[in-house]
Subunit: 236 residues, 2 copies
DNA sequence: GTTGCATTTATGTATATGCTTATTAATGTA
DNA sequence: TACATTAATAAGCATATACATAAATGCAAC
């Protein structure tokens, strides 16, 4: 008996091999269930997963069509810097540079959804791998949403680790950029003249309430972000 | 009647609100199906989708647990530069700078899986938005895998567009970096002194056979990559 | 022609049920 | 007592069936 995974694989193969090309209409669930000698729901599951993966598009009555991709998808997982360093078997060191409660600049205030005169927690910290600075973490935390943050010194634990434990499943928005390093960044990250930085800007919130806004700054020469996410998706 | 989507939403809410915390064991499908007054399979689908989204982990017999996330997930869709420019309502211009068949350097040869003395197609092209260079495309194409490429002049269509049509669903590997611009890049992209570039390196292949290896180079000051992919995933 | 309704049909959702497997507990043996 | 082996069983996994819903199509009335 053919399982839905086998069927999914067969359909996927027909699509990637271009036996079925973008725009083509796939046979109906009914027809495929007869071809494979299974029930319609088995085919349904196979096709639904292909649709989830973006290989096909389904519309009632209109049927299932191969998608003409308009972009290259990529799924990235941004690890906590400590892990990234430890995975490379480097020694990890964390250093808190600055910690204060203050009024954030207007753009951050908006991002976190704070009141006009509401203070937030500002943290600046450095993460070293084998003694070399790898990441500068400049961050605002909404203390209305996370009052415990006021009690935490962040002397021994990085704010990223702390937050990941405290607020495990927030909504996230990322922006990646290649920036010219500021003078301070150049000094802190021990950059050479003209060396660019790779910055990750992250905003997290939970049911509308802003949690944190952070700029992660990495030396361009020592940082890369990679994905192995194939368009031919990596099913479980 | 509760639908699997409602149930999924309720469970998701309980997780994000930390009513159920990382490591906690969720009730069994059986128990939840009784709570919600539906069958086990409806609950199963809800929980399966949460597992797909990475919010929970399921193990036979052991049950379903809330995941302790170790990283921030981000799903990016890298559009073809032409679209990206047109979406910003800028005028798009494409310019082919170089086209030749030659022996690729060793690293590219390995990436594409070519024979020792096998030639490949080399393309260098520029993409403008409103007359300003936005992307430099430096690329090798495996002509054994895509003999039609030899016939195509690429004078009028960008290699990215062409390939997306020709090989719509390849496997993909991406690397993102902030680089110092080479002298040539600085000239072609009209960069200021010390302005970094955001590079996307892409390798595509299909069932083991290399298709293309490309470096997409963007002016750091004019390029950003963003994701709105929340960890609280965007279900259909 | 054009509009509108009825029909058809393809996908979407829910439920019932048997299957598979991982864990725990029981049992036996050294 | 310690460990290995086996059995029981809880839990997720897979498929079949039934019903629901949306949308394209065709036909009829105008």
């Amino acid at each position: 008996m053919r399982s839905y995974k086998e069927i999914r694989g067969i359909l996927q193969e027909r699509i990637t091999s271009q036996q079925w090309q973008p725009g083509d209409l796939l046979p109906s669930e009914q027809a495929l269930s007869e071809e494979f000698g299974c029930t319609r729901s088995t085919v349904n599951r196979a096709m639904r997963e292909l649709a989830d993966a973006g290989l096909v598009e389904r519309r009632r009555k209109a049927g299932t069509r191969v998608v003409q991709p308009k972009s290259h998808p990529a799924t990235i997982s941004i690890p906590v810097i400590r892990q990234e360093i430890e995975n490379k078997d480097q020694s990890y060191k964390y250093l808190l540079l600055e910690r204060l409660e203050a009024l954030p600049p207007e753009d951050v205030r908006a991002q976190l959804g704070l009141e006009q005169n509401e203070k937030a927690l500002f943290l600046k910290s450095l993460h070293y791998g084998d003694g070399i600075p790898q990441q500068l973490d400049v961050r605002w935390i909404n203390i209305s949403a996370l009052p415990e943050a006021s009690q935490e010194s962040f002397a021994d634990i990085g704010p990223n680790d702390w937050l990941l434990q405290r607020v495990p499943h927030p909504n996230i928005e990322h922006v990646f950029r290649a920036d010219k390093a500021t003078a301070e960044e150049q000094r802190l990250l021990q950059l050479q003249e003209c060396e660019p930085v790779f910055t990750i800007e992250r905003r997290t919130w939970i049911s509308g309430q802003g949690i944190t806004y952070v700029r992660l700054v990495h030396p361009g020469s020592r940082y890369r972000m990679a994905t192995r996410s194939s368009a031919t998706p990596t099913f479980n």
